[in-house]
Symmetry: none
Subunit: 341 residues, 2 copies
């Protein structure tokens, strides 16, 4: 049954949404019947008119009848309500998860997609799709969008589509070279996103593993300066969250460096910063780019990370309390919620 829903959702993306709404409407009427339009609208936190359209539809279908005293469920409506019961779990599981995560992590908006990115590859695609949708919603003309590397963000890039909202938007890589594969690097993704949306982009060309002195020289370059100052005006940060050890490995840390990192208690990584469980910065990649305080200044910080393996990292990064939106999956969500506190 769940498969059917997934299938249908590919053809009707907002099917679940509508199904939820109608179900809640039916349920509310059941609890409040007989109830008038206005009262119901208030109870459901919607407007009178919009509710009216829904009600008219359900009335035509014969799920509710209308008397002078107000609306109430017909027998068939009652039946439908009962029949839907087994669906409700699937239908609302995610919303419920999201709300609980929201409270636990103190993030203003949490979106949970189905599945576990560690197990099913399509979940990462779903994270990307949702990420792209959210970005499209929050982006405004002329925005600076700082993007990091990583497969989750790459997935967002692949799901972006052109839209008027991206007018004069600039995608800027959050950090210089971090030693990852080129197709997952911030530079690559910034350019990919620009290409997909019709926006423009900047690059931050910083060789990997540069000596600190060389870095200092590089920072003074006008081209680099230019990008850094743009990053200072970042309005939206789009980033992934990594498990500290995994990220360090991917970035070819030596065993000694790795041991050192573990010693500091690092559990999460984002834009080159490594954080411990308390959310304190314990290590930084030797490169230039977006500073942590600039992330805090950004209006929207959009974090994307899925898979139960990311749970600890997500919890750690959430301590930054600068995230506005977290997009994750069931795998991570369940693990997070089952963890202590």
């Amino acid at each position: 049954m769940r498969r059917l829903l997934e299938l249908q959702q590919k053809l009707l993306p907002d099917l679940i949404q509508v199904l939820r709404q109608r179900y809640m409407l039916l349920r509310s009427i059941y609890h409040l019947q007989p109830i008038g339009r206005r009262g119901l609208a208030q109870a459901m936190d919607t407007t009178e008119r919009i509710l009216r359209a829904e009600v008219e539809l359900l009335k035509e279908t014969g799920l509710l009848h209308v008397t002078a005293a107000g609306m109430s469920l017909s027998e068939e409506g009652q039946q439908v309500l009962d029949d839907m019961e087994p669906l409700v779990g699937d239908l609302f599981g995610l919303t419920d998860l999201a709300e609980r995560l929201q409270k636990k992590l103190g993030i203003s908006e949490v979106i949970v997609v189905q599945g576990n990115a560690d197990q099913s590859p399509w979940v990462k695609e779903e994270l990307g799709r949702v990420g792209a949708r959210v970005l499209k919603q929050v982006v405004q003309e002329g925005d600076i969008v700082a993007v990091t590397g990583g497969s989750s963000i790459a997935s967002v890039a692949s799901h972006l589509t052109p839209s008027a909202s991206f007018k004069n938007v600039q995608f800027v890589p959050a950090r210089g070279g971090l030693g990852e594969r080129v197709e997952l690097q911030a530079n690559t993704l910034a350019s990919a996103m620009a290409a997909k949306t019709g926006a423009s982009y900047r690059l931050l060309h910083v060789p990997d593993r540069l000596h600190p002195e060389a870095l200092q020289t590089l920072v003074k370059e006008p081209q680099v300066q230019d990008v850094l100052s743009l990053l200072g005006e970042t309005r939206i940060v789009l980033h992934g969250i990594g498990d500290a050890v995994t990220m360090a490995r991917r970035r070819n840390y030596s065993e000694e460096e790795l041991a050192e990192l573990v010693e500091t208690g690092a559990v999460s990584e984002a834009f080159g910063y490594y954080f411990n469980e308390a959310g304190e910065t314990v290590h930084r990649m030797p490169t230039i780019g977006l500073q942590l305080e600039e992330v805090h200044k950004a209006e929207t910080v959009l974090s994307i990370a899925g898979g139960e393996s990311k749970a600890k990292a997500i919890l750690s990064f959430a301590k930054q309390s600068c995230q506005n939106v977290l997009i994750t999956d069931e795998g991570a969500a369940y693990t997070l919620l089952s963890a202590r506190l």
Copy 2:
């Protein structure tokens, strides 16, 4: 699954309608790809603009991709189309038709596709697509599949795809030359099916309109004997059903022969046999190949015929009561059901 659809039909009739449309759109694109907006709009009898909105949505969902040559289904779109197959019957009320036909004709499985093959050319394609799917399901390693000629079976051939199920399968023409156009002959189709699926095939080279004596000689040929003995082990018969007069005309019967045929009461034709309304053999094409009793021995007899013009013929052939699966269309189904008895 069916219950969920019923529920949804009650709770979101509007969306289910949209689901139908989208499905049909996907299917049309499949049949016509690559196809442009305008051509598609015409084919689907809708306007360019309205189709465009739909297409944009499906594109965002990733179900189809767009090239300079036109639109075509993505792999995912293809997958969705396949996955939806079991839904289609319920979605369009065809399951009900199928069940009624099943009872009336006494066939173990009936599948009804939308439309009327007499009116819309794509219906024949659809019959072929479904036929190919069913064949793929029933076929087993090492099977002998006897195939006849005709446009319906040709359509099946064009929709077959490689699959592990076709390992060591042999496609064998059910009958020798029947005087039809070469692209619709059994020989051609057997070879086409083998090519499409990666299976092997045999040919039955029998010149049209051979004298009975010459036929007897031919039968003794080792090559021919070989194929005939293979036909004796036929496990699956894949055949079309024709209207007797139409088939005779197509096979260049003289007016006298035709009159004679009509005289006998022939109404249907299949693998060179002509049957009357009672299902009795009243005439045979002078050629060699699969015998009627061998058809009865086959485990699966898959009949494909659509269009209201075929209704009488389908009813006649059903009297053989050896069919396992009948694939037909709405046109034939309604006509069959409205007929007496």
